[in-house]
Amino acid sequence: MGDLFYLGARYISHHRVKLLVLTFAITLVSWLPVAIQIIVDQTAEQLLKRAEDTPLVIGAPGSPLELSLGSLYFRAKTPARLEYSELKKVEATGYARAIPLYYRFRAQDYPIVGTSPDYFSYRGLQLANGRPAALLGEAVIGNKVAEAMSLGVGDHIISSPESVFDLAGVYPLKMPVVGVLAPSLSPDDEAVFVDVKTTWVIQGLGHGHQDLNKREAIGQVIKREGDNLVANASVRQFNTITSDNLDSFHFHGESAGFPISAIIPVAPDDKSAALLLGHFQEEREDVQIVRSQRVISQLLDTVFTVRDYIVVGIAVVAIATATVALLVFYLSLRLRSGERFTLARIGASRLQVQVLMATEVICVLLISAVLATVLIFLTRQYGISMMQQLLLT
């Protein structure tokens, strides 16, 4: 038996390149369809989990899908505008509490999400460092943002201008980072959270500036009309909110008319959620309420179809690969006819010769199976994050 192993090993060692190529090909076609299945299923599970956690979303009329993707993943580039007064209207129904979301602005590649403190308890987000945002201008960042931008508590993050050509537009706002979220395995890891009022400051709806009653501002005051001081446009505005200038920040107009992107209604039970849904579907045409789970499920149906096409394609490739492998084994056996003859002449039994010939096939299939199993396990554990690292680097 030892002789057979020795001869088999020598054969494999001699034809290692051919066998490695075969093993690689068979491993790949065995692993790929399963890997795609795993990644798509896990992604679908994650997408659905987020949607299940956020059963209802309210937004401006338009695409339900855009609204769901925007409010769940902060992916919308130009979210439709909803008035902040809608928040009070949702709460006035008595069916739910309302959490505002305003995700129009970005800090480099990361969305700035204007919301309320309720968002963090709603999502079960925990702080790894620091504290929640308490004052206007303060930011709490996701752990991926902290890692990617090398930011921590005490640092500052700056909002990005919407257009570099908008020279007369709103200055970027420099926001102190007061907290870093613990990883939550969700899009919240990649977001910058501020109070919704801070996003209005970023938009220029609110600002802080030097006190016009003070001596330093005398150059900016054009005239005094009764109790109203009229100043020119050169009044120095603050681009950082600090404890010293916080009181000077104020908003133009009523907050009821200020913009937000979406509202997450938090109903205490299914009955309240159903009543809220009915209320908005029957009585409101100027806003839409969507069941995000249904919207995401419809989207996933399309994705599953795409996945099925890919899997079918890979199955065809697998059949072709198997055929080529069979051909390689067949040609290999034919090439080894002289070897079989020699073995028979030196006294090897028929069984021993057959086992030796089969060693090549068994080794390739066995190693491929083991490698494919390991790869499937790794895919299940780290597939998506590894792919992300690969694409990012």
């Binding site: 990644i39 896990q42 992604t43 599970e45 994650q46 997408l47 989990k49 993707l69 928040l87 709460e91 509490r97 309302a98 959490i99 505002p100 309320s116 403190p117 309720d118 308890s121 079960g124 925990q126 504290r131 929640p132 308490a134 004052l135 206007l136 303060e138 990883p183 939550s184 395995l185 969700s186 899009p187 890891d189 990649e190 109070d195 500036h209 016009l212 109790d227 109203n228 001081l229 009229v230 100043a231 020119n232 446009a233 916080l246 009181d247 920040f249 104020h250 908003f251 133009h252 107009g253 989207l299 996933l300 399309t302 795409v306 554990q381 780290y382 597939g383 998506i384 994050s385 694409l391």
Partner: protein, 306 residues
């Protein structure tokens, strides 16, 4: 084409998914059951909430006793406490101007005087400003001691009751019952103030601080407001200015008991005074008792005058 973008999103999401999905999502840590409490911004609201909720939920007033809640600036720690409150009872009428620049969930904030906004007293002489392309925007203000008009105090109590019932519907019957009792007590105060107003006629009133605008309007007792502190002896110039204004029937209204030397000087001037405490600050005596004491003092003053 319309389904292309969502598909693209999901495919990109698959590739750029933020996590290794193999990890159990249930490992997300949920916050522990938070402590349930109601926060109030001043003593009247603290009292209303306590009366209405009973022992079922704790009511907190973060403002220290020696600080006027209207002048209070919460620290970050205070704000984090307020963020954790199930309900945060604000007065309204610009009582807590810091609210505009802090992060609180709007659904938990109850502006108790909001329903009577059209009864807010606008202050005169407030400077506004305008600049840049946005044009005018005003920073005018309102008088904020709304609860000194008992009809507004009732409206505020109803707003508190409504918020509590909405938050804890299972207790709405109890709250409703307690509200009736509270409104009856406030009505009693109202009658007390009205009786005093009826016997006071057109006499001159001088108020130690401009915090009685609603009281003056509600009970027809207009007067002149100074900026005198009960524990700080006014200057001679201030005494002289006061003397020049005094009419024989003048009555001086203090927010709190004046210092002995101030009281002595008033007695020497022949100027009667009485304390009408708005009761905004945290106190060992509850707001209703403070108001009843006000009414008692006024009744006593009325009897003395007669």
């Amino acid at each position: 084409m319309s389904s292309f973008r969502p598909c693209l999103f999901v495919l990109i999401y698959c590739c750029l998914a933020l996590v290794g999905c193999g990890q159990d999502q249930s490992s997300q840590q949920r916050t522990e059951a938070p402590e349930v409490y109601i926060a109030a911004v001043n003593n009247p609201l603290y009292y209303f909430a306590n009366r209405l909720i009973g022992d079922q939920v704790q009511v907190r007033l973060s403002v220290p006793a020696d600080i006027d809640p209207a002048q209070w600036q919460p620290s970050v720690e205070d704000l984090l406490q307020l963020q954790g409150a199930e309900l945060f009872l604000l007065n309204g009428a610009g009582y807590s101007p810091w609210i505009a620049n802090v992060s609180l969930a709007s659904g938990r904030v109850v502006t108790t005087a909001e329903a009577v906004r059209n009864h807010w007293v606008e202050l005169e002489g407030q400077v506004t400003h305008s600049h840049g392309p946005q044009g005018d925007h005003a920073h005018g203000g309102y008088a904020f001691t709304t609860w000194m008009d008992m009809s507004l105090a009732k409206a505020q109590a109803k707003a508190v009751a409504s918020a509590i019932s909405a938050r804890w519907p299972q207790w709405s019957d109890d709250v409703s019952e307690r509200l009736s009792a509270l409104l009856a007590d406030i009505d009693e105060l109202n009658r007390g103030y009205q009786e005093f107003a009826a016997i006071s006629g057109d006499r001159q009133f001088i108020y130690s601080h401009p915090v009685y605008q609603y009281f003056e309007r509600a009970y027809g007792l207009p007067g002149h407001s100074l900026h005198w502190e009960p524990e700080v002896m006014p200057s001679e110039v201030e005494w002289r200015e006061l003397s020049e204004k005094l009419q024989p029937d003048a009555l001086f209204i203090w927010e709190a008991e004046p210092a002995v030397d101030i009281a002595a000087k008033m007695n020497a001037l022949g100027l009667p005074f009485v304390v009408i405490a708005p009761g905004a600050n945290r106190s060992e005596t509850d707001w209703l008792s403070l108001q009843r004491a006000n009414v008692s003092r006024l009744q006593l003053q009325g009897m003395v005058e007669e």
